[in-house]
């Protein structure tokens, strides 16, 4: 039972200060830019929602949003089942368990630009094992020139990079299931599939919710890895939302539209996460003790 004590705010103060400095101030700046047109160092004109409307009509944005949705959904559809599968195959204890954990987690600890670099090299036809092998198997493969190849490479890279997160979360969830459940299932004569469907999967629900939310969020914000790998190309075939925003803000220096889009971008993620979270909560009702 928590005690009511407003003096707890003192304990929270350091967090608020740090995060406020790093988050609220910049956000204020963004809001500022999003409703003004900056013609010169001292000339600001209030334009209201003009930037917002312009951004929403931008066909480049539509394209980037569409590609982003496909990317995030594909990523989820592959990484979640694959993560569950791999977690099921991992040993429960002993040195083999620690060893597998370390090896599996390795891709998670690589700086994101190095991830891009690894796959940049790996996918090349001349010096990369993957590119060389695929080309020699008779399939023409060129991730810099061909859009489909670029897409596949970006997807495979993300799967390689982030499935370990799903694996680790599911592994933790599986370890939390008491032995008694498996023992009871044995006594009940349950098949292996029944054990998965009726014991493991339900008990993984909380963990999977976290995994889906995290992966959706992070894939929606992805920037560095595809940027290093394909630069968003060929053309804009692999340009997703973050890169679109960066191009606008830093490349073209369209501060107004960039700021407007930043706010929209954030709101989209917030909305999706809110909806996803509530949906998963509802799927799990009837489970409260």
């Amino acid at each position: 039972m928590k005690t009511h004590n407003n003096r707890a705010w003192f304990l929270i103060l350091p967090v608020i200060l740090c995060v406020a400095f790093s988050a609220i101030l910049p956000l204020m700046t963004i809001v500022n830019y999003s409703v003004q047109d900056i013609l010169g160092p001292t000339q600001h004109v209030f334009v209201g929602t003009e930037w917002f409307r312009m951004v929403m009509r931008d066909s480049e944005l539509h394209g980037a949003l569409y590609r982003q949705m496909i990317f995030s959904l594909s990523v989820l559809a592959i990484e979640i089942p694959l993560g569950i599968l791999v977690a099921l195959t991992m040993p429960a204890q002993g040195w083999k368990a620690s060893m597998s954990l370390v090896l599996i987690a390795l891709p998670l600890l690589i700086p994101w630009n190095v991830v891009g670099t690894i796959w940049q090299i790996f996918g090349r036809g001349d010096i990369g094992l993957l590119g060389y092998a695929v080309n020699h198997a008779g399939i023409s493969y060129n991730y810099t020139g061909d859009s489909i190849d670029a897409w596949v490479t970006v997807l495979v890279m993300d799967i390689w990079h982030w499935t370990p997160l799903v694996v680790l979360l599911c592994y933790a969830g599986l370890r939390a299931i008491p032995d008694a459940y498996y023992q009871a299932a044995k006594i009940d004569g349950a098949s292996r599939w029944a054990v998965f469907r009726f014991i493991q999967l339900p008990k993984l629900r909380n963990v999977l919710m976290i995994a889906v939310l995290l992966r959706f969020m992070d894939s929606f914000m992805i920037y560095t890895e595809p940027f290093v790998l394909t630069g968003g190309g060929p053309g804009n075939a692999t340009t997703f939302l973050s890169q679109y925003l960066t191009q606008k803000a830093v490349g073209q220096f369209d501060l107004g539209p960039a700021a407007a889009f930043s706010l929209i971008y954030f709101l989209i993620i917030l909305l999706f996460c809110f909806v996803l979270y509530n949906w998963m909560q509802r799927v799990g009702t009837g489970d409260k003790k």
């Binding site: 928590k2 005690t3 009511h4 004590n5 003096r7 707890a8 304990l11 929270i12 350091p14 967090v15 608020i16 740090c18 995060v19 790093s22 988050a23 910049p26 956000l27 700046t29 099921l88 195959t89 429960a92 204890q93 620690s98 060893m99 954990l101 370390v102 090896l103 599996i104 390795l106 600890l109 690589i110 700086p111 190095v114 670099t117 690894i118 090299i121 790996f122 001349d126 010096i127 094992l129 979360l169 933790a172 370890r175 939390a176 498996y182 292996r192 054990v195 909380n206 969020m217 929606f220 914000m221 920037y223 560095t224 939302l241 973050s242 925003l245 960066t246 830093v250 930043s262 993620i269």
Partner: protein, 268 residues
């Protein structure tokens, strides 16, 4: 659980595919550029450590590593230090606006870093923190602190309140209780938190590169400089990449027992 005959091959296959790209980079880091461009081989025919030597002797290279490690450690320490009291407050007390505050904290994690690019650039220039390790550490706190508070709050809620009350009855002051009694009990939680803070700060590079130019430049920025007149310096680039994996691999090697134990305790 599943029969061993089925699980072991699947796991082995996954591990093989997972480690293959990393191995490939390691492979290239031990070859000369000529060999790389010349023919494709699974292991170096002329093993060479020259690429690594270049990195260790060229300050523009190893400075990058030192800078990265510096801001990551600063971030780790600051994030946990700031998150500990906050997590305690969320765990033990209810107060005006607590749920809204918690939600606001989480939204920081949901904000795309790209959104912060320009504002951060202006903000840190204004306060004169541009191109410092502190700037990157602070910037990374935006998404690490919410995560730290979230994880720590979970672990803290697992400790019964009676322990706090007993300590106060025994005459402990709050700071003494926190340091001598409470912290040791959530040791593994602090460990997990520090690991995740390290991880997310070490791998994030968009903000790190934006906020730095010369003095605090992380290894990421340095690596984009490997194009020379002779063409792409694949060997050195690969060696640099390999070296960025080493700190992460070391960290996770040392904490592997705690992670395995943390999982065994069933704490997500």
């Amino acid at each position: 659980m599943m029969s061993k005959t089925l699980t072991r091959p699947i796991l082995a296959l996954y591990l093989l595919l997972s480690l293959l790209p990393i191995y490939w980079m390691l492979n290239m880091s031990l070859k000369t550029n000529e060999e790389i461009v010349g023919a494709l081989t699974m292991w170096p025919s002329n093993l060479t450590f020259d690429n690594f030597k270049t990195i260790f002797t060229d300050p523009s290279w190893y400075d990058g590593y030192i800078n990265s490690i510096l801001y990551v450690v600063i971030n780790m320490v600051l994030s946990v230090a700031v998150a500990l009291p906050a997590a305690y407050a969320f765990s033990r007390y209810s107060f005006l606006g607590d749920k809204h505050l918690f939600f606001w904290l989480l939204t920081n994690r949901m904000t795309p870093p790209a959104v912060f690019l320009l504002p951060f650039f202006q903000l840190y220039s204004t306060v004169g923190l541009m191109d410092t390790h502190l700037a990157v550490a602070l910037a990374h706190m935006v998404f690490n602190v919410p995560l730290a508070v979230w994880i720590l709050e979970g672990f803290m809620s697992g400790i019964p309140k009676e322990i706090d009350e007993t300590a106060y009855i025994d005459g402990y002051s709050f700071p003494k209780f926190f340091v001598k009694i409470f912290l040791p009990m959530i040791k593994s939680g602090v460990g997990v938190t520090m690991f995740f803070c390290f991880m997310f700060s070490w791998v994030e590079l968009l903000l790190a590169r934006t906020l730095t130019s010369v003095n605090a430049k992380p290894i990421a920025a340095t690596m984009t400089r490997t194009v020379s007149a002779a063409g792409m310096d694949w060997g050195v680039l690969s060696a640099a990449g390999v070296l960025t994996i080493v700190p992460g691999a070391l960290v996770i090697w040392f904490v592997r027992h705690y992670i395995a134990k943390g999982f065994a305790m069933g704490r997500v």
